[in-house]
């Protein structure tokens, strides 16, 4: 499988956030996005997830499922967790499991739910309404979605926010095993995830419409 990004250009209003970006991510590969605030990490991830339409350029997943869109083949972990305060942890995750994999049979869905709870150390919190959880615990519930459905491409936007070191290690382990089993992962993070093999892509803020690269940007500052 190969995620192919070809001369991607993304505008938000008048501002060109991403200019002529090309890169590839293969199976069993993780890509870390680096860059200052406003460099376009979130924009790039949201464009891959299909929330933003690129101005020009191509975004394709070669070797993926033919009848599915790119968005349906990725897990997106954004700034928000997608967790309902009025539902317990297992109700939250149970719903996402059934929603994201509606065709799987009940036993398989239950298995996945248990794996997800176990992987992200949520078994003790299973029956607690998510509204009572701490920020880091809520984040873990959000991340547990990764284990509820098989999606080849993981898009993680600042996944380590409010996580403690132990939880960061859990996440790193999950990403590692996903990548080791042939998955793709793209993560925007300032904290090293412990992914030694990951490649890094440095994004440069594109502040000036006429600028062509880093130097012109420095002048604009």
């Amino acid at each position: 499988m190969l995620l192919n990004v070809e001369s991607l250009m993304i505008d938000r209003g008048e501002r060109r956030i991403i200019r002529d970006l090309s890169f590839q991510v293969r199976s069993s590969e993780a890509l870390l996005l680096r860059g200052r605030n406003g460099a376009g990490k979130t924009t790039l991830i949201r464009a891959i997830a299909g929330f933003l339409a690129p101005t020009s350029g191509k975004l394709t997943l070669e070797g993926g499922h033919e009848e599915m869109t790119l968005a349906e083949q990725c897990h997106y972990i954004g700034h928000l967790n997608g967790v309902k305060a009025n539902m317990t942890v297992s109700e939250n995750l149970g719903f996402w499991g059934r929603y994201l994999e509606p065709d799987a049979d009940r036993a398989a869905q239950q298995d996945r739910l248990e794996t997800a709870l176990e992987t992200f150390d949520l078994l003790a919190l299973e029956d607690i309404p998510a509204g009572y959880l701490s920020a880091g615990q809520k984040r873990r519930v959000g991340l547990a979605r990764l284990k509820l459905a098989d999606r080849p491409l993981w898009l993680l936007d600042e996944p380590t926010v409010s996580l403690d070191t132990a939880s960061v290690a859990i996440l790193a382990e999950a990403v590692k095993s996903h990548v080791a089993s042939g998955g793709l992962a793209i993560a925007a993070t300032h904290i090293p995830l412990g992914l030694e093999t990951a490649r890094t892509l440095e994004l440069v803020p594109n502040l000036n419409l006429d600028s062509t690269g880093a130097e012109a940007d420095a002048e604009a500052w």
Binding site: L52, E72, Y76, G78, K84, A85, Y99, R145
Partner: protein, 223 residues
């Protein structure tokens, strides 16, 4: 279709658990209708003549209170983004959420209406038609309202804007809802069934078109 059902069940469950939206809508409906006779005076003939119109208008306003919440909570906590990446098309996501709104708000309001009819001295033979027309007409409120809710999702203080956007769309429902009931009280031959048919047609039409428009608006809002 499995994902549609799951989403519908979840939204109904959440609405019942949170309770606030339904309680507010029912309480508002009760209060508005209870205040009207106080404002209009104890003229029973006048009240019973304008009762269908008052009941419908108060119902529209009560339903409007909770329309904004159709997508708001899911947008605020990020659930909407995850839903957009599921296999279920966004049109069906919008349809499931509008349907859940109808079940948890439209139906209870329609069932409360005959009780409030007593306060307005509604004529005896009009109670059946009242409930029937409201059950047939309220889906239009939820499904057209979903379009407005999606359009005003990211607008700050979108509540008033939502009312401005969607209230005009409810005019056909209002007109034919009231026509159906008055045609029973003043005995117009065939008036009830034709008005009810149009009312149902408006609801069915908005059940098809509403989710498509709402999904288009959601796609823009999620950029």
């Amino acid at each position: 279709m499995g994902a549609f059902r799951q989403l519908l069940m979840r939204d109904i469950q959440l609405a019942l658990r949170e309770g606030g939206a339904l309680g507010t809508a029912l309480g508002f409906y009760l209060l508005v209708v209870a205040l009207l006779p106080l404002g209009l005076g104890p003229d029973l003939k006048l009240l019973s003549r304008i009762a269908p119109g008052l009941l419908w208008i108060a119902l529209l306003l009560a339903a409007l209170l909770s329309l904004g919440r159709i997508f708001e909570t899911d947008n605020d906590d990020g659930s909407l983004e995850v839903m957009a990446l599921g296999g279920l098309p966004l049109e069906l996501v919008a349809a499931a959420k509008a349907l859940a709104h109808w079940i948890t708000t439209g139906i209870p309001l329609a069932l409360l209406a005959p009780l409030l009819g007593i306060l307005l001295n509604l004529e005896f033979q009009a109670y059946g038609p009242l409930v029937l027309t409201m059950l047939a007409g309220t889906p239009a409120i939820s499904f057209l309202g979903a379009v407005g809710a999606a359009l005003t999702l990211r607008a700050r203080r979108g509540g008033l804007l939502l009312a401005l956007l969607v209230l005009p769309l409810f005019i056909p429902t209002l007109i034919y809802g009231i026509t159906a009931i008055t045609s029973v009280t003043v005995n117009v031959d065939g008036g009830f069934s034709s008005a009810l048919s149009i009312l149902t047609a408006v609801s069915l039409g908005s059940m098809v078109l509403g989710p498509i428009a709402a999904a288009a608006a959601l796609r823009i809002q999620m950029q």
